[in-house]
């Protein structure tokens, strides 16, 4: 299968440059946080000696005057998602490898695009001009990626026929294997793909294990990895800003409850339950936190969903004071059956809850509220309690 690789090197930096043109020409480092460590995500082209995932203190030791920019991952994902949506107008088979790298299946497009040049032009038009994509067309993912990587910005390359002459002088660092394996290849004196391809596969497997076979095959341009195209998922999202920045788990939980209530009370779910959910929060210093949750049984009401959400919030603490919360439903499902409760007092509570819900539907707004503790220890009185609609 022929594939086209669209490569946007330094994609996070390009996104930052688009929304902040003033940083052009200035030394800057885009950073992200992993646990308690701040690492380098991307940097301006003029800073040498930096690589992604390098610890920030190490980067600042080399370039102390660089401006630090906190990575805005939702922004990058949003821009990349828009690009992928536009690429799908060229071909329905688009794989999202990572932000800044996508593979497109081009087999069967000759009825629409007469030759490779027309496909390249269509893809170039789909990507924002300022991002200058590099494109490569080849018979598999690895070759298409290498072809794209060896292009100038905005250029393209098509690999056909014998690829040995293209591969033989490429450095071994282009192999998508672990850093440890790359280091060992250098230790063995194997610095180019041609040197690796000249040997037999047996020694590689004995030295590197299963990865050894992959190393040998890739050095010869053999890559059987299939294309995994995107498929559209129905995505329903709700979000809200908290009235004040908070570190209280209870405040975040109350906000999550009200978001779930919006989803269940409207006609959005249409009788279906939640099977998959993504929780996200945004802190006051622009860090974000995200967790995916799967439900064995579809959660048909707020109560069954919130207990699981509470455990996740307790097990995975927030990176800082929270400003915004949101949730996105990624999977829906129908329930197998609903069994009513045997005990009369619990059934009475359920009837009361249903009456309150009917009242809300008739009048259009919640009528019955519950006072919930949020931060009862707070010195600021309005932070201590919150009003939430009953049964949510």
């Amino acid at each position: 299968m022929r594939l086209l690789c669209v490569l946007l090197p330094h994609f996070p930096w390009s996104c930052e440059l688009q929304r902040r043109p003033d940083i052009a020409g200035r030394p800057a480092i885009v950073t992200y946080t992993e646990g308690s460590q701040r690492l380098v995500l991307e940097h301006s082209p003029d800073l040498e000696g930096l690589q992604p995932d390098m610890p920030l203190p190490q980067a600042l030791a080399r370039h102390g005057d660089a401006e630090l920019i906190q990575a805005d991952m939702p922004c990058y994902r949003s821009v990349w998602s828009r690009i992928l949506d536009t690429l799908e107008t060229v071909s329905p088979l688009v794989e999202d490898a990572e932000p800044g790298c996508a593979y497109i299946g081009v087999d069967g497009l000759h009825l629409i695009y007469p030759d490779d040049g027309a496909i390249i032009d269509a893809v170039r038009g789909a990507v924002t001009e300022n991002l200058s994509p590099r494109m490569g067309i080849a018979g598999n993912k690895f070759l298409a990626y290498l072809a794209a990587r060896r292009c100038p910005p905005g250029g393209h390359r098509v690999l056909t026929g014998d690829v040995d002459s293209f591969l033989k002088d490429l450095p071994g660092d282009v192999l998508p294997v672990s850093l440890k394996s790359r280091g060992r290849l250098r230790d063995f004196g194997l610095t180019t793909l041609g040197q690796i391809a000249a040997l037999t596969p047996g020694p590689f497997q004995s030295q590197f294990g299963p990865e050894g076979k992959k190393i040998w095959e890739l050095s010869r341009g053999i890559d059987a990895t299939p294309l995994y195209p995107r498929f559209m998922e129905e995505s329903i999202e709700e979000s809200t800003s908290l009235p004040s920045v908070t570190v209280s788990l209870d405040a975040v939980l109350v906000a999550m409850e009200s978001l779930l209530a919006r989803l269940f009370d409207g006609n959005i779910l249409k009788g279906r339950g939640i099977r998959g959910l993504t929780l996200w929060t945004r802190t006051w210093n622009a860090e974000d936190w995200k967790r995916n949750i799967s439900f064995k049984e579809p959660a048909m009401d707020v109560r069954s969903a919130i207990s699981r959400i509470k455990r996740i919030l307790e097990d995975y603490p927030q990176p800082g004071p929270v400003e915004q919360v949101g949730l996105r439903i990624t999977a829906l499902g129908y329930p197998r059956g609903r069994q009513k409760n045997l005990f009369s007092d619990i059934r009475a509570k359920e009837h009361l809850a249903e009456d309150i819900r009917q009242l809300e539907l008739r009048l259009g707004n919640p009528q019955v509220y519950t006072v919930k503790e949020v931060e009862p220890w707070s010195r600021i009185p309005e932070r201590r309690y919150a009003l939430t609609p009953t049964n949510r």
Binding site: D72, P74, C75, S78, E238, S239, T240, L242, P243, S244, V245, V254, A255, E257, S258, A261, R262, D265, R282, Q324, G326, N365, P366, V371, V374, R379, I380, P381, E382, R383, R384, Y385, A386, L387, T388, P389, R392
Partner: protein
């Protein structure tokens, strides 16, 4: 970038309780409350307690308030505070 949900604060949104209410207060020469205007003007008989809170110093608008527990001429007790950032007076139960 977090998309703007465009949602206005609705009745079903999570909202705080005991929000402060603006109040008209006359101060004496030392800045203490002398009289308050509820439905009508009432003189402050005594200040039974006062305290100060300073919080959320990291925000652009920190919380800095001086609270007073006052007894009015009508016998009503009231808790009010002066926002030390804006200089405005508010009534709020503590």
């Amino acid at each position: 970038m977090v998309p703007d949900t465009g949602k206005t604060l609705r009745a079903d949104a999570y909202k705080p309780v005991n929000t402060p209410e603006a109040l008209k207060v006359e101060e004496d020469a030392s800045g203490l409350p002398h009289a308050v205007r509820l439905k009508r003007r009432q003189v402050v008989i005594s200040i039974e307690d006062k305290w100060r809170i300073d919080d959320e110093w990291w925000r652009a608008e920190p919380v800095s308030r001086r609270y007073y527990n006052v007894l009015l001429a009508s016998g009503q007790r009231l808790v009010l505070y002066k926002d030390l950032v804006t200089g405005e007076w508010y009534q709020q139960d503590y």
